[in-house]
Subunit: 319 residues, 2 copies
Amino acid sequence: MGVDAETTVADVGEFGLIAEVVPAELSERVLIGPGDDSALVRVGDAPVLVATDVLVENRHFRRDWVEAYDVGRRAAAANLADIAAMGGTTTALTVGFAAPGDLPERWAVDLARGIADEAALVGAEVVGGDVTAAEQVVVSVTVVGTCERAVRRDGARPGEVVALRGRIGWAAAGLAVLGRGFRSPRVVVDAYRRPEPPYDAGPQAARAGATAMIDVSDGLLADLGHVAGASGVTIDLDSAAFEIADPLRDVAAATNTDPLQFVLAGGDDHPLAATFAADDVPDGWTVVGRVGERRSAETVSVTVDGAPWEGSGGHQHYR
Amino acid sequence: MGVDAETTVADVGEFGLIAEVVPAELSERVLIGPGDDSALVRVGDAPVLVATDVLVENRHFRRDWVEAYDVGRRAAAANLADIAAMGGTTTALTVGFAAPGDLPERWAVDLARGIADEAALVGAEVVGGDVTAAEQVVVSVTVVGTCERAVRRDGARPGEVVALRGRIGWAAAGLAVLGRGFRSPRVVVDAYRRPEPPYDAGPQAARAGATAMIDVSDGLLADLGHVAGASGVTIDLDSAAFEIADPLRDVAAATNTDPLQFVLAGGDDHPLAATFAADDVPDGWTVVGRVGERRSAETVSVTVDGAPWEGSGGHQHYR
């Protein structure tokens, strides 16, 4: 793709821009480059996982919807989940923090506490960062970690199963509630405010032989689309495999939404999705679909019960 | 310091806020925690340096003063210099990039090119990152690297000398020119737009036995103040040791400034300052001062020709 003088970043979108700036060639030291949940780089003699995730006020969170402490938990969770999705564990975090000068100090301190507490769940620590002034709160978290065996997005093979571990659809239901000016059911609002990624499930899946894995941050259809695209396969989900919990059903009914829409397209819960040989699925994971062959570039890569999903699917920044 | 409900981040300033959020205790794995140029963490079996620096539009750069490509060079340089200042070399970078949707794609692509080209100077690569929308351009770069021997800020001892390597005062002179609406002398404007940190000088100083080292990003007085504070010493600079180049003299005359003000308080050049035993100063370094004893907390930590510097000294974000 060429770069036109009048093209904006909104025109090309997040993924278009990333495609444009990713280097064509990387050295041998870069074992996994851009395009997966984390990069894997040989630093000195050690393979090190590294990932960065940016949260922007009024885009990823609203200060009136989410307390600073929970913004911190979410910012850390999004990053820790990226390391888990490689089969790894986070060791350390850095935080780039930009905020207006009139932000209460309390807010910044609570944010830092939230990041530290979430990191502590996996035994990781904040070891550095940078603080500066900006018009808007921006929290850029970087994580470094290790893994015994890195699980990429591109290893899914036809005949395997797709399995999921962790809550899904809950944050989307919470967001739907908050977006309508309500604060209950509390359980889904809390799920939006504080995701609970199954961090241990990443290394567990890697040990069990997962062939591909991803952190579901933008919605299951969108993120499995990345797995399908990278692996050159199709994925068919079985809608009956998803247990729809009562609070999701309640919010769906109250908002005139198909609860599956929350499950298939909702982001922010950070469950892990992985592909396994049918016999390898470890405890705690739920099989929700199957990997099939890709016939052509026009094939819809992720289907539900054999057909394209008619609802909206995930989201893109700038779009 | 307690956190008052009405205190803002501007009230406490960058360093006050950092002091408030830095964890009281870190694990043994964290060999060097927050408060140095980079952190040093044991990731798996390997000691890994990591640092993050955030550049914000209209604070660290203006799009009408600096081309996107040079913003990229500067953003990378600030981070690579943080690793060099530990005596280390950068292996990989991640970039958190937030920008308004109407930003030309060309700008973002040029920024990425600038980051990659600066990184290539030390053999490092961009391996990942995140792109999102925001009201203002924010570039958060994180670097990971290695070192044979980490040089901290806290090892300076009375009787040692302070030495400097790299350009100093040039970027401040360039900023003074740009701030008055001029574009020349070109050589100082270019120095502001594209710093040239002496990356190799970091490992060189470490091998030579440097006892403390810092990247001069906020101004020599301010940054040596960090070394003096961490080491519990005083530093006296010898103003005659600084060769004032003609372009600095010219800009100083034209703007009615003492050229030493650029040298002592100007930031953004990213030279390295280090302390050594007098016989250990390696090639290419200029001795500019001496380390003395600290008598009390009230002692001014960094003096010039034996007296406090009367001009302004460095800067603080939010202040």
